[in-house]
Amino acid sequence: MKNIIFGLVATLLMMGSAYAQSPNERVHVLQKRNYSVKNKTEVSFFGGLSVDDTFTQHYAGTITVDYHLDEAFAIEAMWMTSKIPFVNGDKQGDGYTGDGIRWGMGYTDALENLRSAQLSPSNADLAMIGNFVGLNVQFSPIYGKFSFFNMGLIHTDFYVTAGGGLASTEYQRPDDVWVDTGVYFMGDFCLGLRIFLERWFALRLDVRDFVFAARVENATQTGFDTKIRSTLYVMFGVSLLFGGEDPVQIWSPY
């Protein structure tokens, strides 16, 4: 216990003197960009989950490869998966069994509650994304610095990405059989934050929305329902940055 108190006191005293500051000055624009992404290739690995859908619950692994054309623009290729690709499981009637293969695909309690009330949503509401491959454009207009309790600096990039690609989709019937509902063009839009820890390493937080038009046979199997489906993911990831150049250092008090 004595060691803890000693440690805390030492830290406070030494940090206090180290963080002595200069008088306020007017900020015009943020300078001294310590982290540059121009001409760098960025490989990112994400884990994510869907957050807004009433009935479906996705968990997904995602790999993105970005090439930064300059500090503001990048092109991005991505693969997002909630299911082992090109594997469907055992054939049963017009569908497949195999929940393990679809490791990131499931339904929320809301569906169970609805079914216990002898109700059911449209099958189009139950369609889930198995795999997605896409191409995006990334725009990073905002570079920022944050202080946490005035103790240390965090360098960040805020960005938006937009693009599209192809997604395979499936839904699960009440008898636990997964029915393939086809491959769709799917659009995606993302707001993201990149936190630089090193010039070659960063953390990323993406909020990414995927939109597609699901056309699925209705519950009474007498026709098809078409619905615009939107699934919002929150994704956390790590990035490795290769190549490029170190930023030019321009001294500034900001």
Partner: protein, 253 residues
Amino acid sequence: MRIGRFGSALFAVFCLLYGPANAGAAEADEPILMNKLHDLSGRFEISLTPSMSILDKYTRHVGTSLGLGYSINDYLGVELDVAYNFISGDRKLLDEILRTATTLDGVERLALTDLKHMTWSASLGVVFSPFYGKLNFSSEFAVTIHFYMVAGAGVAEYRYSELRHSPPFDPLFGDNQFHKQEVTYPVKPTGHIGGGLRFHFNENWGMKVEIRDILFYDQGYKGQINEGLGVQERNIDDFVHTVFLRLGAFYAF
């Protein structure tokens, strides 16, 4: 909680090495964000924030809130918030499910916690702002921001649509149709938790974007549960969450 001698020694070494090392590095390499353009300390703030609910199952809300805040120092403040939802009701999804149902026999078994929607709320909260930052928009102009978290308690009024279905050949509502009767709950104690960003455009004016979850503990309503032995009626206790995305303006003085 027992930490142990080894753990406390390790912590002391960590504090000695990590704290000053970081502080020293910051001083030698580049200054911490020192030229703080927008202080919060000792200032009042009035905010008007239109809001909409997100992450709902069967309900929707659109409204606005009026807030008054006071910052005790740069990191800690208090706020009073009053909100009214001028759109508060069921989502189209619920009506669509009921309209296309092959039977409405079990409609009374839908969980009421999913159907409750808020009409107004009033709350007191504590605002905690640990992050201060500067953003550079396309190298043209700089905006200073605070990241903050908020938590507190208050009261709110909730309503819900009691779902009923009419039996075959019902003269009043028609054959096998659903109908809704709105029920107003008594005012309930609520808690809230959230976080957001405050953008300062000049000395007085700025913008806030925030996500706030307002919740209450819904205690002991009668629910019908479909169990192995058939439909049972029993008390259900559950939290009712309403998550708002709020985007508004503030004036600080």
